[in-house]
């Protein structure tokens, strides 16, 4: 589904990703772990199409297509979704207006009929129930005045509504208490399916107790230095990133 080959990315004059390789198949859950500043969030943002980053080398194939050539909205319409680490507040735009615009844009791209207000509402209410989201959210401005937990839950809700094929969670666990973390994780687990791949980007192993990954990759200083199964996350938790960094280059990074 996703294939990242030798990806180099700069922000301004600063090189952040220095040759990332990664292959993710449909149905798999991968976790990318790494210390602060290792380039985890940059990778997520580049995959979603943020234009503040410059790709200097390498390529990214998504379902065989060149992802880097697509505008952010095209990627979304093709089924790429990133849950933001810092969801943006949009005063004056109600969640209902925003979600309907997003859903219908994606439905149009998929050749489906747009939903009218009634159909949209019915669908949203059904999804709300699953995630335990309060319906009042629809009338509030997008993310405005939401707590950290509400914002993250809203991201997962959007993901459930838009039904992407590639889900990227950018530090979705940061700033969440354990209850919020469980809710978010169960929302994500509910989306696991054979046709869908999930990329969980996190600093801590904690989230991976609830979203069990098939593969774990360690990103340090812009490169994937180790890859392994879910037990790698536990090892990291125990030993810290320093030791892993010491052993950098031991494994064939990200290649399976």
């Amino acid at each position: 589904m996703l294939e990242i080959k030798n990806l180099y990315v700069k922000a301004g004059n600063h090189e952040i990703l220095k040759g990332v390789h990664l292959k993710v198949n449909a149905g798999e859950v991968h976790s990318i772990m790494g210390p602060n500043g290792s380039g985890k969030s940059t990778l997520a943002q580049v995959l979603a199409g943020r234009e503040t980053y410059e790709v200097t080398r390498g390529e990214v194939l998504y379902e065989g297509k060149n992802l880097l050539e697509m505008a952010p909205e095209e990627r979304a319409c093709e089924g790429v979704f990133m849950a933001f680490q810092y969801p943006v507040e949009i005063p004056g735009v109600s969640s209902a207006q925003f979600l309907k615009a997003a859903l219908n844009a994606i439905r149009r791209a998929r050749g489906l009929e747009e939903l009218d207000a009634m159909e949209f509402l019915a669908l949203v209410k059904q999804k709300f129930k699953v995630l335990g989201v309060d319906e009042k959210l629809l009338h509030r401005s997008v993310n405005e005045g939401f707590s950290g937990g509400e914002k993250k839950r809203n991201e997962i809700f959007q993901m459930a509504l838009l039904e992407p094929r590639l889900c990227i969670l950018d530090e979705t666990d940061s700033g969440l208490d354990i209850d919020a973390l469980k809710i978010v994780a169960s929302g994500v687990n509910g989306l696991r399916s054979p046709g869908r791949a999930i990329l969980v980007i996190t600093h801590y192993q904690r989230l991976l107790n609830y979203i069990i990954p098939d593969y774990v990759h360690v990103l340090v200083d812009g490169r994937i230095v180790r890859s392994g199964g879910k037990e790698l996350a536990l090892e990291l938790e125990e030993k810290g990133y320093a030791l892993i960094e010491g052993g950098a280059g031991a494994a064939a990074p990200g290649r399976r």
Binding site: E73, V88, I90, G92, V93, Q97, F98, K100, A109, Q158
Partner: protein, 446 residues
């Protein structure tokens, strides 16, 4: 020093004729105030950019233009002509004015019981002198301001609303001012007087629209008296023609524990000056001053706030959002005056502006004058372009870039509309704002 320009002269000459006619029509009691006002106007003339309060707005186009008085050109309209200005879902008394004069055939003042009155001011001059006299021209200060002086000298019609003690009028009262094509550019001086006695409540919607693209000058003064414990919402919707001049002053006198909301949306006009001047004279009163101005082309929109805390424990909140496109020029001046005895004042002011083009311009100027020592006053202004992070967020959810920009812009304008409590008015304004927006269609479609 008196600089009598030819323009000032013309108003003075017109006044003599006007005063003679007015004296014959049972308005003799108004003569002293009209005389005083025209005398003051003769001294003040029109302001210039040397006046601190008019630094960013040059009214020479008004001062130098030759406007005829509206009387000679009364136009008959049919209700169908003004259908386009209907507010869907809005039910309530409506007074329609055509070129400044009350048009009974187009109006539906309704019949209010319990002594409440909605009528034209011309009518009230003869019927409601006892209510008017203690208030008229007592608050809008014609000694300070040339435009107010001119209005006071020439006032002859407008809206009059009187709500007696304890009476709640739920239905919004709409004052619709329609300008039509005229042989020569005309000037009108609409004067609205709103009096709410103690424990009463009302909603007033003042709106200025045009049937064509003509040049005219509306010089408006609205005087509002809000008694103890009373609640008033005032809406000003300005949709003048693109060549029109509109100078409008809202002067609100607030009694103890009263609550006032002033909502303003400026969309039209070539040169617009919007003065909002509440005086919180009674202890514990509150006011919300909420505005949105959207200018494009060569439009000039000047918002001049003067919020006076004259008693202790009063709260004021100002929120003005501006969107400026083309070569337009916006101004926001927010003056907060806290008088010596107004302890425990809580005043907040926020002015946010979006510039959509390189040539658009905004001057934002907060000004605090604080003479009390135990007060909380904050102000903040922002001037900027659209938030690229927010655009990316919307795009990452599948929304195309132009639609994302349109949606964000709508959201920025809608921040102001969300503070408006009257649903039909809010929806009406949402539609007007969406029409105004470049790519607004994309918001409707999404």
């Amino acid at each position: 020093m008196v600089a009598v320009t030819p323009a000032t002269d013309r108003y003075l000459e017109n006044f003599d004729r006007f005063a003679r006619v007015a004296a014959d029509s049972g308005q003799e009691w108004l003569r002293p105030v009209r005389q005083a006002a025209i005398a003051r106007f003769a001294e003040l003339g029109f302001p210039t950019i040397r006046d601190e309060d008019w630094r960013f707005t040059n009214v020479a186009p008004i001062a130098q233009a030759s406007f005829a008085r509206a009387n000679g050109s009364r136009t008959e309209l049919s209700p169908r002509d003004i259908d386009q200005f209907a507010v869907p879902g809005l039910v309530g008394p409506q007074l329609v004015f055509v070129n400044g004069r009350y048009a009974p055939r187009l109006s539906s003042p309704g019949s209010l019981s319990d002594g409440a009155t909605v009528s034209s001011l011309a009518q009230a001059f003869t019927d409601a002198r006892t209510v008017l006299e203690p208030h008229l021209a007592r608050y809008a200060d014609y000694a300070r301001d040339g435009f107010t002086a001119l209005n006071t000298a020439f006032m002859e019609d407008g809206g009059f609303v009187y709500v007696p003690r304890g009476r709640v009028i739920e239905a919004p009262i709409r004052l619709l001012y329609v300008s039509t094509e005229t042989a020569d550019p005309i000037v009108t001086h609409p004067r609205n007087v709103i009096v709410l006695e103690e424990d009463s409540q009302a909603v007033i919607v003042e709106e200025y629209v045009a049937l064509g693209a003509e040049v005219y000058f509306s010089n408006v003064v609205t005087e509002v008296v809000v008694g103890q414990n009373s609640v008033l919402s005032h809406y000003l919707i300005e949709r003048d023609s693109e060549q029109a001049f509109n100078v409008s002053t809202l002067r609100v006198q607030q009694g103890r524990s009263s609550n006032v909301a002033s909502h303003t949306v400026l969309l039209g006009g070539a040169l617009v000056r919007n003065n909002v001047h509440p005086v919180m004279a009674g202890e514990g009163s509150e006011c919300l001053i909420n505005g949105l101005f959207m200018a494009t082309g060569r439009q000039h929109m000047d918002n001049f706030m003067r919020v006076e805390h004259a008693s202790p424990h009063c709260d004021s909140r100002q929120f003005y959002n501006g969107i400026l496109d083309g070569r337009s020029h916006g101004v926001f001046s927010g003056r907060i005056i806290v008088h010596k005895d107004a302890q425990k004042t809580d005043a907040k002011q926020t002015n946010k502006n979006l510039l959509l083009s390189e040539e658009a311009q905004i001057d934002s100027k907060p000004q605090l004058e604080i003479y009390a020592d135990d007060v909380k006053c904050t102000h903040g202004a922002t001037i900027g372009q659209m938030d690229e992070g927010a655009i990316f967020y919307l795009r990452s959810r599948g929304i195309a870039e132009d639609a994302a920009r349109a949606l964000l812009l709508f959201g920025f304008a809608n921040e102001s509309l969300e503070r408006m409590k009257v649903g039909p008015i809010r929806k009406y304004l949402e539609a007007l704002v969406t029409q105004w927006l470049p790519q607004g269609k994309l918001v409707e479609e999404s």
